[in-house]
Symmetry: C2
């Protein structure tokens, strides 16, 4: 009962490759998303993710290298915005903001999206890589595409303003849990927030002096051939 077994061995599952094929890599990714979503980049620990996935911590590194690389891998957005664009851009033009808000709110409630959103937002406060992700989501993502397609001046500013309202909503509703926003239903919220997005995207922003100098982001001809409401391409 003492020792002296040929190979070294201790407790729990013994070393070596496990039988069967149980998509361990995917389970680790899911665990990582959950952990990053719960505690942010710094707060989440690799040991905890490994435990959630029922796996040794070293395996996490084996698959994904460093923690930062794992974060990038885990936070890759599985959302095809281009596919949703027509449904948003179509319909009465004066309620575009409301449709966008409703779309985003529904997106956030999807179980495969929420951890990603929470992970990125929670981490963006302290981790530069996550901050860059969030910045890109706002400054180059679907909001800018939409704002650009609407063909009004100051597209970048409009996208950023709309984005700021959406980040704020995510923070208040999902991260910090401000009532009554946290327990409000999506439809009511979309009606309340919609006009804000609407105005940011197509409305009057006041005398935009000193703001409008958008230094031609990207060359013209970059995305301008996007026809909003047309799903037939791509």
């Amino acid at each position: 009962m003492t020792a002296a077994r040929g190979p070294r061995r201790r407790a729990g599952r013994r070393a070596g490759r496990r039988p069967g094929a149980e998509d361990t890599r995917g389970r680790i990714l899911d665990a990582a998303r959950a952990a990053f979503g719960d505690r942010g980049f710094e707060g989440a620990t690799i040991r905890d993710m490994a435990a959630r996935a029922g796996v040794d911590a070293a395996l996490v590194h084996h698959y994904f290298g460093t923690k930062q690389q794992l974060f990038v891998a885990a936070m890759e957005m599985p959302v095809d915005f281009a596919a949703a664009m027509p449904a948003i851009a179509g319909g009465p033009a004066d309620r575009l903001g409301e449709r966008l808000a409703a779309f985003v709110l529904e997106l956030w409630d999807r179980p495969e999206v929420r951890p990603l959103l929470l992970g990125v937002v929670r981490s963006a406060s302290t981790d530069p890589v996550a901050a860059a992700m969030l910045r890109r989501m706002l400054a180059e993502g679907p909001l800018l595409i939409l704002a650009t397609a609407l063909d009004r001046p100051d597209a970048a500013l409009r996208a950023a303003l709309a984005g700021s309202q959406l980040i704020g909503l995510a923070m208040a509703r999902l991260v910090v849990g401000v009532e009554p926003l946290a327990s409000a239903d999506r439809e009511s919220l979309a009606r309340a927030v919609g006009p804000t997005i609407q105005r940011y995207l197509v409305g009057d922003l006041g005398d935009v002096g000193g703001l409008g100098d958008l230094e031609d982001l990207g060359d013209p001809g970059d995305a301008p051939d996007l026809r909003v409401g047309d799903a037939s391409r791509r």
Copy 2:
């Protein structure tokens, strides 16, 4: 060169009380604010704050106890909102939102306020105590007072909505650094965001079905004697 000096001694400044009176406590608080503002609650380290204040790490604990207590002590807001309220509430009623936005934006630029804001916002993503602070700032702070004083239904919802836009602005402009918001001047931003706040506070929120059930927060008679635009009391 070995040892055997009477009292133990090593390097740097020797132990014992320092002469003179140089408000060490205050320097530690400032260092803590800077550190929390830069890296959030989890990211900031007591050793770093001590170094910034030119002081041993144990002294920080001596003065403030645990890290969490230090955080609470450091993030205490030195802003008298009640004093600023009349200037915001006074003036043309249809630009109340813009004045509030301008006030807040100016507040955030004050060197004694910015680290506090950044500290709370950065930490709220992961630390429950900080989250509670932020929640209270939004759900019980000046926004609610103002919304309540305006005497429209759904005051709590209105305050929370306005708060969400302001958090989002802080995140985008100060934390994540989304352009062109980050380098925009305050006046233009206030003009762009003002109407949003305005509508949230006094405008039409759409058919607020299922949202308006604000369960009488606080008893009536709590703050209702606040006369907006009247600075003469208190």
